[in-house]
Symmetry: C2
Subunit: 211 residues, 2 copies
């Protein structure tokens, strides 16, 4: 074997990764309340742009932790975001997680309204009879639909995690969410993804348990 | 609404995204055989670094397409990678997809061997009685185990898609795979992810169907 591996025990890999991230951030000061989220997103992406890209509404940390501990459910826009969230941590807290993208009624509604299935998932979520945390890692159309329904007073989520990625209306959709009076965690700009959204949720869950 | 949205029909969003990517690549020439893969990864990440980061072994395009059309199954290291692969396209081709990370025997084997569950998934995959395409988007330990089993002649996969992300042995594990005489598509460096791995598989599937 020409390549030399760093010898790290399986259970130590994540710890060692966070040490490297902290080292490489160097003098860069992160807001302490949000450092675990920012570092976990860097851990998930190996992209230090997220030291600058993540935006947090005032007091969102406490609001998010409180929602997760007080019966809010999570609605994701993609199966990937759902797959990336730690199921054991969710189960410990009794947090339910929903993804409606493959549901027939969502597909039907999208066709009727000439919109995306991602947007129709938000309409379906608006009918849930419990507080909702939106975890939107992919679809700007989902964020736009959240914006519309909040403006129409048909939706009042506990928290919006908005990290769509891409080129068409991605930047705008995030700006729209920041205009609302709803707690948010946003990855500004074009970057993001379902992995980023899931990492943010996991960081919040781990804050509760300090693992 | 202060923010102005670009008016794009739902079914046109992806097409418009690819147009923007092509525009922004400008004079940058991509290998035509791999441009659809590179552009899809940029579409998934909004990260133009992937115009330089993706490495393809000689002739891997034809080998990959042939494997997908001739009975190879896919084994992923994460549920996220599995979730991100287009199930309709897989079903059309009759390609089976496996992820063993939550299996009890894998957890047991990992504990016995003092390794990660991701590495033990590779041992389980080596026992499958059909040709395998590995789609490893997260775990360098999975790539290292593939390397070891190939060296020991206990594994001979059709293709390795290797895009782990992170800080501990990620770069090294990818270099090890490139030492083997097995077709590969690798995201060099620290960057990658389950989303990147899934995007590569989807690009290959769409090449077959030209959608």
């Amino acid at each position: 074997m020409k390549t030399e591996l760093e010898q790290v025990l399986p259970k130590e890999i994540e710890k060692r990764s966070f040490e490297i991230i902290t080292e490489e951030l160097g003098d860069r000061k992160l807001d302490e309340a949000y450092a675990p989220i920012i570092k976990r997103v860097i851990h998930t992406t190996a992209d230090f742009d997220y030291a600058d890209n993540l935006l947090f509404s005032e007091g969102v940390r406490e609001k998010a932790l409180s929602a997760l501990q007080n019966g809010a459910c999570i609605v994701t826009d993609t199966q990937m975001a759902r797959a990336g969230i730690n199921k054991k941590a969710l189960a410990k807290l009794g947090v339910e997680i929903y993804n409606f993208i493959a549901d027939e009624d969502v597909s039907k509604l999208a066709k009727e309204n000439g919109t995306t299935r991602s947007a129709s998932c938000i309409d379906k979520a608006a009918a849930l009879d419990k507080p909702v945390i939106f975890v939107i890692g992919n679809a700007p159309t989902a964020l736009v639909r959240i914006y519309e329904l909040v403006q129409e007073k048909k939706l009042n989520p506990e928290l919006i995690i908005g990290t769509p990625v891409g080129f068409v209306n991605v930047v705008q959709s995030k700006e729209m969410i920041m205009e609302l009076d709803i707690p948010y965690i946003i990855a500004k700009g074009r970057k993001g993804g379902s992995n980023v959204a899931a990492a943010i949720v996991n960081a919040l869950l781990y804050m509760i348990y300090e693992r």
